[in-house]
Symmetry: C2
Subunit: 218 residues, 2 copies
DNA sequence: ATACTGACTGGAATTCGATTTTGGTCAACA
DNA sequence: TGTTGACCAAAATCGAATTCCAGTCAGTAT
């Protein structure tokens, strides 16, 4: 439940580190988790393993996270958080709106692919153990992503580049169309080669974007 | 391995039933399988159960299928075969090519949804047991579907309704975009309400089709 | 105080051998 | 000639003994 992103009332700036104790340690825990997930998978990775890998005591983990499950879910959260940063970066670049959306769609697929392809065989394990928690967050992830996409859509419409009715519906459709390429239930090996996934994402993106382009421009 | 679809050299027409013994029985076995999958799931359903439900002896199952796994995979094959019939039906209707594709996309999603929503909780079980076999067939299913879609695409282009480069790439993109709504790894309950799934499929289809429409028509 | 730790605990997971179930075969049967 | 169900080996299941580990908290260090 501790979310370093949410900044509520920075009451005492000099004591920020105390309010959310040592974000450096928190990140070290998540880094360790990433390495160990790749090496052992979810079930065989113990909390003591994580602590040792991070160079801290086991109890310290519980000062930052409420449970082992929460550690791993936060790790996934961090991946998505970084993805969102990347998406916002692309969203505010100076390419055409269509080019930005295209790159954003490719990125949302490939960033996830790259983030978890390290632990391929252990993914099923993780998924089986955390399915309920992950499904709950999936919806939140998509919603957050949709907002970023919607902004670019609106900008593209203002400039006359795009033509569409509802930006939220359209944003969700864009995400939905690429969801089949996300390694949520199919592992990265089952999805196919990276290059092939990229090609498929690209083909889908091209077709969708063609549908967005304003009829008047051509 | 016994595939009633593949018609190789119908040597003796009067003995067809002997070459592929009693397709009626075969269908009865698959019908029984469908009912029992819903009731018990894959693992708890025994071959003897199937035989009893179909009103035949256990050994008879093995005159039609090489293994229990093959029985269930053939059951899935039959679902897809029926779906393809439905798709071809729509493909040859007299609506506009866009309307046909739209309906075909909705159908490929909802037909699957309806076909397996009976056995929701037992789906994970089935998926875990048959994953390798199912993944292998998935590719074949998509390929076969893509062909039907490609035909409609070509017709739409001939009539000037559509504009696109490669019909196979485009057909695959259409399928890929709706794959995320198929109950392959996510069960029907995890996908959401039927109406919601329908809405999402519809939104995606609309956007994709918008991209196909020829620029000249508007 | 405050930040951290690791020994400790109960419940969960694993192991392993005994027992039961079941996928697949085939000799007998209709 | 087509069908069957008793039969067999392999797999699944069970259950008790054992190990393991997530989470706690008294204690240490700072």
């Amino acid at each position: 439940m501790v979310n370093s992103q949410a900044v509520e009332r920075p009451a005492n700036l000099s004591k920020m580190a105390a309010i959310a104790p040592k974000p450096v340690v928190k990140d070290a825990i998540l880094d360790a988790t990433d390495r160990l997930l790749a090496r052992f998978g979810y079930r065989k990775m113990t909390v003591e393993d994580i602590a040792a890998e991070a160079g801290i005591g086991k109890g310290t983990i519980y000062l930052h996270f409420s449970s082992k499950e929460e550690v791993v879910l936060s790790h996934v959260d961090r991946i998505v958080e970084r993805l969102k940063d990347r998406l916002r970066e692309i969203a505010s670049s100076d390419a055409t709106a269509a080019e930005r959306l295209r790159l954003m769609l490719l990125t949302r697929v490939l960033f996830r692919f790259d983030s978890i392809q390290h632990y391929t065989q252990s993914l099923n394990d993780l998924l089986a153990a955390l399915r309920p928690g992950l499904l709950a967050r999936r919806a939140l992830y998509f919603e957050a992503e949709a907002e970023i996409f919607a902004e670019v859509l609106v900008i593209g419409r203002q400039s006359g580049e795009f033509s569409f009715d509802d930006e939220h519906v359209t944003a969700h459709a864009l995400l939905q169309a690429t969801n089949g390429l996300l390694p949520y239930s199919l592992s990265t090996t089952e999805l196919g080669e990276r290059a092939e996934v990229e090609q498929r994402a690209s083909d889908v993106a091209n077709l969708m974007l063609q549908g967005l382009l304003s009829r008047t421009t051509s």
